[in-house]
């Protein structure tokens, strides 16, 4: 699943069984509402809850059994999820 805005805008790609990959000039806010410093153009946000470096993914999802569930249909109309209803992330 990719949430796509206008060209050159922010995209968020949900990686199966892994993080959310964020491209583009998104500001990530921490729990205190302050921007989290971004050190690279593309970042991976943890969604398994297991990372030691929140909010970023550190690869822990590969060893803690995290499963993201069936893919949502891709934005290009491609059929990646069969007839299953659109799952919630």
């Amino acid at each position: 699943m990719t949430i796509q805005g206008p060209p050159d805008d922010v995209t968020v790609t949900a990686c199966p069984d892994g993080p959310l990959l964020v491209r583009g000039p998104a500001t990530i806010l921490g729990p205190d509402g302050e921007p989290v410093p971004r050190n690279r153009a593309t970042v991976a946000l943890c969604r398994c809850g297991g990372t030691a470096i929140p909010p970023w993914c550190d690869g822990t999802h590969k060893v803690n059994g995290y499963r993201s569930g069936p893919d949502a249909p891709a934005g290009d109309g491609g059929d990646h999820g069969g007839d299953a209803p659109r799952p919630r992330e």
Partner: protein
């Protein structure tokens, strides 16, 4: 992987620096082939005298049935490293005109043929498991391959047990590649197009610091070397590094320099990234346990975050989209990934075995810090 022992020269490494610090210092020969090669490269490419190298290759029976075994030894691996280095930063004292000298390229291919055969014998083609070979299927297969890898864990040992000398050895062992980190995979960029090319550039730009030289991964590695008291000049520890490590570096150059093997270098990169973030955390923990500061552990801390990003891009957008574009490359991508896991695993197994016996993992000891 069979290797012949390094010459039993236990003298500490010389402190001499090359005249040109951007180049690899000319290494010490490890046998007749590398000796003849290094002697030939001292001359001019306009007056090439390569017959002694050819003779040494004949003598070593590089073209014979035993060629694949011979080529994994110290002598042939060092010769390959030197030949490949001509395409990177060059070798101190060696004329740049040698890089595309036809006679020298012919010699290189006489080493590369048995080298590739040896790698194919070491790592059989992994079977495709029947998942659709689209980007998602390729990514899933690559992640599964990396997860199944049951090679010994050097990072776990470093996290818990390594002493200060072993931590320094680890960096020296890795330095031949890590001081040119990312370069062999960069060869693939002009050989790709469209989505996989964009993905590879995205990864490599981050490897090279995103426009900030101080964040370049090779620079961070140099900083870690200085932090443990090692000399960070390029190629400084080549003489200390055993064949098993040279095999891992030469594998990347072989795959990167041959367009025919572009699928394999892409698979290699994907597997490399997939086996980096969690081990990097463990390496960082080990260096922290040994009392090193964040300047020294930055290299590892950076890789925890960066490679968790890169592995996702490499799996789907790079490897996956490449196979969608060129389905015929599917098996090469898988083989390259398996090859990466195997040759890097051989380095880990070698170091662990030596350290657990209380021995040095290097061919020559480091001067004490």
């Amino acid at each position: 992987m069979s290797t012949t022992p390094l010459p039993t020269d236990t003298a500490p490494l010389p402190e001499a620096r090359p005249a040109d610090p951007w180049r690899m210092p000319a290494p010490r020969p490890r046998g007749a082939v590398s000796e003849a090669l290094l002697a030939a490269l001292e001359g001019s490419p306009d007056d090439a005298r390569l017959a002694p190298v050819t003779d040494a290759l004949e003598e070593a029976r590089i073209d014979g049935p035993d060629g694949p075994r011979v080529v994994l030894g110290e002598d042939a691996q060092l010769a390959l490293l030197v030949l490949y280095e001509l395409h990177y930063r060059g070798v101190d004292g060696v004329d740049d005109g040698w890089e595309w000298h036809p006679g020298l390229l012919a010699l290189r291919s006489r080493l590369e043929r048995p080298f590739e055969a040896a790698l194919r014998a070491r790592v059989p083609q992994p079977a495709w498991d029947g998942t659709p070979a689209d980007a998602a299927g390729v990514a899933a297969r690559l992640f599964a391959l990396a997860a199944e890898d049951d090679g010994p864990s050097l990072s776990r040992y470093v996290a818990k047990k390594a002493d200060a000398a072993q931590a320094r050895e680890l960096l020296a062992l890795k330095s031949v590649y890590q001081l040119k980190e990312a370069d062999p995979h960069t060869w693939a960029i002009p050989r790709l197009s469209g989505a996989p090319k964009a993905a590879l550039v995205e990864i490599q730009a981050d490897e090279y610091g995103g426009g900030r030289p101080g964040r370049m991964h090779a620079e961070l590695f140099a900083q870690a070397m200085r932090g443990v008291g090692l000399d960070d000049s390029y190629g400084r520890y080549v003489d200390a590094v055993p064949a098993v490590s040279l095999v891992a570096v030469n594998t990347m150059s072989l795959l990167g320099l041959h367009r025919r093997l572009r699928g394999a270098i892409v698979g290699h990169l994907a597997a490399f990234e997939m086996t980096s973030s969690i081990p990097s955390r463990l390496y960082g923990n080990g260096f922290r346990r040994l009392g090193h500061d964040t300047d020294t552990t930055w290299y590892f801390d950076e890789h925890v975050e960066a490679d968790a990003v890169h592995e996702q891009i490499a799996a789907r957008d790079l490897a996956g989209r490449l196979v969608e574009q060129e389905p015929v490359l599917r098996d090469d991508v898988l083989w390259g990934a398996a090859l990466c896991l195997a040759v890097e695993g051989d380095v880990a197994a070698h170091a662990l075995e030596r350290w657990q016996r209380g021995e040095s993992a290097l061919g020559r000891p480091l001067a004490t810090a």
